[in-house]
Symmetry: C2
Amino acid sequence: MKHEPFNESIEMYLKTACELAVGDAPVAISALAGRLGVSAVSATEMVHRLQESGLVDHQPYKGITLTEDGRHQAAAVIRSHRLWECFLVDHLKLPWDEAHEWSCRLEHATDPQVTDALEVYLGYPLTCPHGSPIPTPDGTIVEPADQPLTTLLPGQSAVIARIYPETAELLSYLSDLGLTTGTRIILKERAPFHGPLVLLVGEDIRYLGGEGAAQIFINQVEDAS
Amino acid sequence: MKHEPFNESIEMYLKTACELAVGDAPVAISALAGRLGVSAVSATEMVHRLQESGLVDHQPYKGITLTEDGRHQAAAVIRSHRLWECFLVDHLKLPWDEAHEWSCRLEHATDPQVTDALEVYLGYPLTCPHGSPIPTPDGTIVEPADQPLTTLLPGQSAVIARIYPETAELLSYLSDLGLTTGTRIILKERAPFHGPLVLLVGEDIRYLGGEGAAQIFINQVEDAS
DNA sequence: CTGTATTTTCAGGTTAACCTGATCTTACAG
DNA sequence: CTGTAAGATCAGGTTAACCTGAAAATACAG
């Protein structure tokens, strides 16, 4: 089996670059390398290849930005990833926290036509089960209108809107705590210096470390009664 | 992205070996190589690797047979392939002939848990849209009870039960002719020496080359009125 | 039982995506 | 405005899965 244009690595780089990008700021190669679990040298090598192919723009010592083409391809991968997550969770009834990892493999094996048909089948969902928006076929990704859990004040309540970035460990942990998207929580108190949060989830008290809290986004903030 | 145990090639070899096997007869390496579009040398190399891993039994100058382990893994790949085909055709309403190629990519990216959930979701289909049986989770594959179209006599009618082996070109061609699984046909006449068949499909006359006919299997044979 | 075609092996080569270690270049903070 | 950490590059190495060309081993048919 000759491995035709071997997209998978390329797609992972583009996807990761897209996910790490905030606004127009270039993404550091070291950040890319870190997230992909690859050495800085390897990442630099690959970035050169991507540059050759016109998928990224590399400003030495600054970082990379995706070209139109690159952003488009990245969005396509993210799109299929999130749609598969919807399918796995909503239709196949597979666990909320494991769907992410499984979709990480499916996302590279999905033809755009399949992705589009899947979207229709699912009824054009707006977000994945973890709250992240689903890119449109033309590559636009709407900015989520939520705020970090770290901005919630003691005595307030809110609904978990999104987990980002999605990591297998955190999703599994949150799943165990019952802290899935759509869950309303009340912040009882917060230790300073990124210490743990004390949350009321239904009838239960949950303690959540600051690192995890930084990856949780909320909306529908209210003063708890 | 480090490419962890890189299954894809291995899976293709195992799957192909399984598909080429008839009974207990060993599969020639050249046959494997031919089907995979790879040189005999490369196939031999890979067969050695598979032997090391205990997936395959290689008798020099005879061919290979799958070990229990190998057969099991092959069945898992075929299983996910055919279940995906069901999903793509029956649920996503994607074209009957293109589903095969798309499933060829998905099959390697599917966790067994996902495969099993998919089977439940689809309602335990017995065959893929092209008529091939879906292996059970434990790796058994039921022998189809159909016969080659080449055994049909002029004046008889039958229902297309299965296309095998599935190749993109043939499926696309048959799709254009309306010769999909489940279609009842009547054999008007047959030229000798594997010449073309003259078929009545509904109201239409179709001519089908002998090579194509060899990949079509039928059942429900009746004498046409 | 020999000859030819198939199989296998050997030698040597390629590519993509990784790696480490060492060196060079640049940004920016004090 | 200089020193140091972060970033980039160079050199050299690995692995899996391919390749071609050529030589050796074997099967089996006439």
